[in-house]
Amino acid sequence: MEVLCSDKKKSLLDPRTKLLLLIFVSVFVIGNAGGDAAAEFRVILNYTPLLFLLCARRWRAFLFGVIFYTFAYAFAVLLMPHCKGFLNFLILAMTGIVLRFLPGILTGMYVVSTTTVSEFICAMERIHVPQTITIPLSVMFRFFPTVAEEAGSINKAMSMRDIKFGGKKALQMIEYRLIPMMTCSVKIGQELSAASLTRGLGGPGKRTNICKIGFGFCDILVFLGLGAGLAFSILRACGVL
């Protein structure tokens, strides 16, 4: 057991908390639920994934987020009131895209990069999600990085054959990239499922799990924060505050 626990970097949050965070960000930021009543809460939700990315030492994603947020807010607050017509619309669209979608993407990145497959499965079992949903979702954790690896190799092949964007073959570029991607993904998908099946995945009995998950201090903080934000927004919407 020493071997297993020695240098295990424990993630700050429980997978279930991460999922809840992801749902909140999706509903309030991407879905724009609550409208003006939840405006302040939305700003806080925007910055929450950045905080956690920082804690997980994902420097690049963190910096990326900080820079884009700063520009987007600066544009929206400083520049937009002085612009009219098409320019105004353009800035609105750009800042809208950044502020709406980036938080969701960053939260997703945080969840995927700090959760192992078995932690995820374990968490899903605790909240009684059936295997038919859990297993396809957990395959995603592996499938996307694998496809990204493939895409990297295809990129190499492209640049070696001197096929680059622009020029007369611009449209064909997409096709050239997609065809090897598809053949490789299909093949890998098939091999992955064959391998997991020979190792007994999908049996009717109860699976065990070696990882231990549980709520800690940070989880409680996140729950309280999200609950407070939600309550605040609801009260605001009802006109109490």
């Binding site: 078995s118 592996r142 295809i154 190499k156 640049s159 070696m160 091999e191 699976r207 065990t208 070696i210």
Partner: protein, 508 residues
């Protein structure tokens, strides 16, 4: 006891073609179907199944682990039983409690992303108690000395390390029947040695082992029995004494690889380069080149390819490659060898000028090429050729590689590689070997002077290995400089003029 009685099988869709099936010059593609196989494997026996590409080796393993007919569909007749139980009618999760499989491709046989959960995965599926699983994982980790690999992301491991994890996850289950499907296809000599030790250990523990393999030399003194397949039929069954009588020539006649241990020739190398002292002190990892079979005196400036200050640093600051100077003869075939993880792939990327982290220059025919310029001088035929075939037809593939599309010229190139009949076919519909030749055709069409090959013979049988050897020699006859990164001793003996070895000094 595993028994196959009168088993015949034909793949339903194109499932059989998808794997292996190298498909050589002008021959019909065998698709791995089986025809009336009778085979019984005793408990504790170590059985080697071998034969040419597409002969049905993998199909037999898939029958035993139940993937046929439960995952790969097709026409099956006859019966496959393990200890009296019919595998074909048993659910896969029940078969998984007695049979474990190690697959060929280390990139696609893991379910988890981190190594520790991967080892526990099969036991978790069986619903064993958590403490029992941890105890077993710990025991395996200690026995196989895997401590350095624990809690790592599988995406950061080398091919050899991944295969080790795959074997370890089999060991954790403690299953009595272990199947291995070309486990050595991506391994270097050192890792093969480790695999061999592991198989010996399993054998001494009384496990039943069935290996389907092309490279039979490392198994020759472990296997109790060898079965040779051809076109889906057993053409020979050899017991241990009979195996010893078999000569290399007999094997080659059947299209099989050598049974001799291919040893690296004794090192009387001339050191072409000395490691740079600065780098030695500043970083943990240095790559050194030593070469055999050529001396400095025989090279004049006009017929060498001079590599200078080759460096590759990872994002993390880890120096993966450092070659102050290296000389490769022009117009010859040079093999680059070395162990898994010693920087061979990085070396190729660097030579092609791929990736902005590649540093260094090359001098060729009096001209100096920097990174970007190299991309137009060098052509790489990748290990997985699927990555470099994009278009709708073989003809298009060649045409977009040419500087100026020229159909007549393209036909000539295709004809020289026996591909003219396939000019209108979709490249992805061809067999593995044919795809590889299409990639070579593109390389020729590009008119580039330096051609690189990354492991062109991994997973190929003797006949197809010879074909690759011939293609390489033909390229040499065209005046090209050919550089092959390979583990394959037989290919090196067959066609390479020089051999250079990459060494990682930090590990020595």
């Amino acid at each position: 006891m595993i028994e196959l009685k009168n088993v015949s099988f034909t793949y339903g869709s194109e499932n059989g073609i998808e794997k292996g099936a190298a498909g050589g010059v002008g021959e019909t593609v065998s698709n791995g179907s089986l025809n009336n196989i009778n085979l019984s494997i005793k408990d504790g026996e170590c059985l080697l199944i071998t034969g040419g590409s597409g002969c049905g080796k993998t199909t037999i393993l898939r029958l035993i682990n139940g993937l046929i007919p439960n995952f790969f569909e097709g026409l099956l007749s006859g019966s496959v039983t393990i200890n009296g139980q019919n595998v074909s009618q048993t659910e896969l999760y029940d078969t998984a409690k007695t049979v474990s499989t190690v697959f060929q491709n280390p990139r696609s046989q893991f379910f988890n992303v981190d190594t520790t959960s991967e080892l526990a995965f099969a036991c978790e599926n069986q619903g064993m108690a958590r403490e029992e699983i941890l105890r077993r994982v710990n025991r395996t980790v200690v026995e196989m000395q895997l401590e350095p690999l624990m809690n790592k992301s599988l995406f950061n491991l080398s091919g050899g390390q991944k295969q080790k994890i795959a074997c370890a996850s089999v060991a954790v289950t403690g299953n009595d029947i272990i199947l291995l499907d070309e486990p050595s296809a991506n391994l270097d000599l050192y890792s093969i040695g480790e695999l061999k030790e592991l198989l010996k250990k399993w054998k001494s523990e009384g496990k039943t082992i069935v290996v389907a393999e092309h490279r039979i030399s490392y198994l020759w003194d472990i296997a109790d029995r060898t079965v040779i397949l051809n076109e889906g039929q057993i053409i020979k069954e050899l017991s241990r004494p009979q195996m010893y009588k078999l000569t290399e020539n007999d094997l080659h006649k059947m299209g099989l690889r050598t049974n001799k241990d291919c040893r690296v020739k004794p090192d009387n190398d001339t050191e072409l380069v000395m490691p740079d002292n600065d780098t030695l002190s500043s970083s943990g990892n240095n790559t050194d080149l030593s070469s055999s079979g050529l001396t400095r005196g025989s090279l004049s400036k006009s017929n060498i390819l001079l590599l200078q200050n080759f460096r590759y640093k990872y994002k993390t600051g880890y120096l993966a490659l450092s070659i102050p100077q290296m000389q490769i003869p022009v117009g010859q075939i040079t093999a680059i060898t070395g162990n898994n993880g010693d920087g061979k792939t990085t070396f190729l990327n660097c030579l092609c000028g791929l990736g902005h982290r590649s540093k260094g220059t090359i001098e060729f025919k009096g001209k100096t090429y920097k990174r970007k310029a190299r991309q137009k001088l060098v052509y790489l035929v990748m290990q997985d050729v699927n990555h470099q075939l994009f278009t709708e037809s073989v003809m298009d593939e060649v045409l977009i590689s040419q500087l100026e599309p020229n159909e007549e010229e393209a036909h000539k190139i295709l004809a020289s590689l026996d591909l003219d009949d396939f000019a209108k076919r979709h490249p992805q519909s061809l067999s593995g070997g044919q795809k590889q030749r299409v990639a070579v055709a593109c390389a020729i069409a590009s008119g580039r002077e330096i051609l690189l090959f990354d492991e062109p013979t991994s997973g190929l049988d003797y006949t197809h290995m010879l074909q690759i050897g011939k293609i390489l020699r033909d390229l040499k006859a065209l005046g090209k400089t050919v550089i092959v990164v390979t583990h394959d001793r037989e290919l090196i003996e067959e066609c390479c003029d020089n051999e250079m070895k990459l060494l990682d000094y930090s590990k020595k």
